[in-house]
């Protein structure tokens, strides 16, 4: 009898670790509390806290004579966003982010579709490397590489000359707004590099969404009489939409916040990120910088709200 007891309940002389495990096993809420404490502290205080500190600044204003911050609640800084010069910056950035997002989605979809449906084994690995490798190399190196590609004496001009197609490029560059002296100092150049740099962030979520669509779903659509184009419109695209939206959140918000690409490639006209950078660093106008920083947050809020209303998350 004593023997069975001993085998049923193991020796009581246990170490601290074993006793701790027992305690946590008996009180799962304590374990949950301990596991959650560090991330909650980090997210709540350091991450969100600093964000709110920044946002708070946007409700202060700067005294333009002394350059001192006036710590009184005011909406004057926000009103300043709507002066023509500042509003131009916002409009330009949002337009660029929207164009970048749409172009990324159009280019990424077939790539993601191929990866999700057809790439197998080794090709799949090659594909992932191809998508991810650009992310491993330095962002600055990539942008400067693009500057060389797009420059007037760059490889693109050289290649087009070889093909006797440089008249095409010249004609494009002579267009208003999108054109310029060369691609590397044009809005088009900024756009190309934005699309290039954020492309993986669009491909991967779309691919993940497409992988969750069973083949039988597409077959069922065809079985019910839908041509491939109709299947895309009524089944595949709606089911991939959460992935497209997830990807577009990345491309859209990253473009809204970026200040390096437009500084190196494109015209001298400012984007939101550059405005934040200049007002905070050079001008010392932290309230206006903070107000500019709120703009992408508000835009993203509206964007997600609109996406939800359109049913982008219904298939989740």
């Amino acid at each position: 009898m004593a023997q069975t007891d001993a085998s049923l309940v193991q020796s009581r002389n246990e170490g601290l670790g074993a006793r701790l495990s027992d305690t946590l096993w008996r009180r799962p809420s304590l374990l949950l509390f301990l596991l959650l404490l560090p991330p909650v502290l980090w997210l709540g205080i350091i991450y969100l806290g600093s964000l709110f500190a920044l946002l708070l600044q946007s409700f202060f204003s700067i005294d333009h004579f002394t350059g001192m911050i006036n710590y009184e609640f005011t909406l004057r800084t926000y009103a300043e966003l709507f002066t023509p010069a500042n509003f131009d910056i916002i409009l330009r950035t949002v337009l660029m982010a929207a164009c970048t997002t749409v172009a990324s989605a159009i280019i990424a979809f077939p790539i993601a579709f191929y990866a999700a449906r057809y790439a197998k084994g080794r090709w799949r690995a090659v594909f992932y490397l191809g998508i991810m490798m650009p992310l491993w190399s330095s962002y600055l190196v990539k942008i400067y590489a693009w500057k060389l590609i797009l420059a007037k004496e760059g490889i693109l001009t050289w290649a087009l000359e070889g093909l006797h197609l440089n008249w095409l490029l010249d004609a494009y560059l002579s267009l208003p707004v999108v054109g310029g002296n060369s691609l590397s100092v044009s809005v088009t150049g900024t756009f190309i590099v934005f699309v290039y740099v954020w492309m993986p962030f669009m491909i991967l979520p779309i691919q993940a969404a497409l992988e969750r669509v069973p083949t039988s779903m597409l077959e069922a659509s065809g079985d019910l009489g839908a041509r491939p184009g109709q299947t895309f419109r009524h089944v595949l695209f709606p089911l991939a939409l959460p992935g497209v939206v997830a990807g577009s959140i990345f491309t859209f918000s990253l473009t809204l916040g970026d200040y390096i690409i437009p500084q190196i490639i494109g015209t001298s006209r400012l984007f939101i990120g550059q405005a934040v950078y200049q007002h905070q660093g050079i001008a010392g106008n932290i309230p206006l910088a903070a107000a500019f920083a709120v703009v992408p947050i508000v835009i993203m809020g509206f964007y997600l709200w609109g996406a939800k209303r359109m049913g982008a998350f219904d298939a989740l």
Partner: protein
């Protein structure tokens, strides 16, 4: 006219011959079952009819029309998929109305037709729900309604009852059979469950290794298998090897005998040792070892039961020993 005709149809995937020279004719209005173990080619045959696969060789005709070059969306057949393949972003009514929407029917008209189809599968009033809010059996009915609402000339069913529990499965078997009689549509039903095939189908084709082994009415397949594979797979019959049959009857061919037809006797042609008994409720299953062959008998509960290790004599009516061809 035959609804579906296969003429020496093959479908190879690389070196694998999933379907290997199959010829068959499915008659109009027939409930036709394709039965076989997994990997036997039955599902590929179904997919060939639907148009999801293209044959490597041979001709397929649906109501006389060559379909090898017709994509699925141009064929008058509809499929109930094994995983139902309901569209998760559409509600039940729009799922059922999908084929009609593609065909260009107006919203009011197609929703009315969808509601009628849902009524037919006893899911009236479920139209506004999402597929994720339904149980497995209900999803199955929706898939059925979604296919039938298009009034196909042939309905293909790919193991549609596989995911349901036993009770629901039996109930659906009866409903499917009833629907088929009521609508008069040709049903082609793929299953690996012999009970399902035998209870529902007018005719059964038994598949193995990409070939059709035997086609016939359920009774034929069950009581008169052509080859040992059919005897074993369909009926769990006892298969007696040719040399044993040669000694018993003088004919050197394998033979099948149903477990419920084996009787215990004082004297008999075959003496066997009891190696196991299991209680099945209505009957008791007794396993024997007889001259190197394993045999099974189903004894009614009121019959005298032997004990494990006993040596007994086995006997049967002459008609019950069914001689077969040698081979697969």
């Amino acid at each position: 006219m035959s609804a579906v005709v296969f003429d020496h149809v093959s479908r190879h995937f690389g070196a694998v011959r999933a379907v290997d020279g199959v010829s068959l004719a499915i008659e109009e209005g027939e409930f036709f079952a394709m039965l076989g173990p997994s990997g036997s080619g039955k599902t590929t045959c179904l997919r060939l009819i639907a148009g999801f696969e293209r044959p490597t060789g041979g001709d397929i005709r649906i109501f006389g029309e060559q379909v090898a070059d017709l994509p699925p969306y141009k064929r008058h057949v509809n499929t109930v998929f094994q995983d139902y393949a309901l569209f998760p972003h559409l509600n039940v009514r729009d799922n059922v109305a999908y084929g009609l929407m593609i065909a260009g029917q107006g919203k009011k008209q197609r929703h009315k037709a969808a509601d009628e189809a849902l009524e037919m599968v006893r899911l009236g009033g479920y139209g506004a729900r999402k597929p994720s809010e339904l149980s497995g059996g209900q999803r199955q009915r929706v898939a059925l309604a979604r296919a039938l609402v298009n009034k196909p000339r042939v309905l293909l069913l790919d193991e549609p009852l596989g995911a349901l529990d036993l009770k629901l499965r039996e109930q659906m078997q009866e409903e499917l059979k009833g629907l088929q009689r009521q609508l008069g549509i040709t049903f082609v039903f793929v299953t690996h469950d012999q009970g399902e095939a035998l209870s529902m189908a007018d005719r059964v084709a038994v598949f193995n290794d990409g070939k059709i082994i035997q086609v016939g009415a359920p009774e034929d397949i069950y009581f008169r298998p052509d080859v040992p594979f059919v005897a074993d797979f369909v009926g769990s019959s006892n298969v007696l090897p040719a040399d044993l049959v040669a000694r018993l009857t003088g004919q050197s061919r394998p033979a099948a005998i149903r477990p419920e037809r084996l009787k215990l006797a004082e004297t008999g042609p075959l003496s066997a040792q009891v190696i196991g008994l299991s209680f099945l409720g209505l009957t008791t299953r007794v396993s024997f070892q007889a001259e190197g062959t394993r045999l099974t008998a189903l004894l009614p509960q009121d019959a005298p039961r032997p004990a494990k290790g006993d040596t007994v004599a086995l006997t049967w009516a002459e008609d019950d020993l069914h001689l077969m061809r040698a081979g697969a």
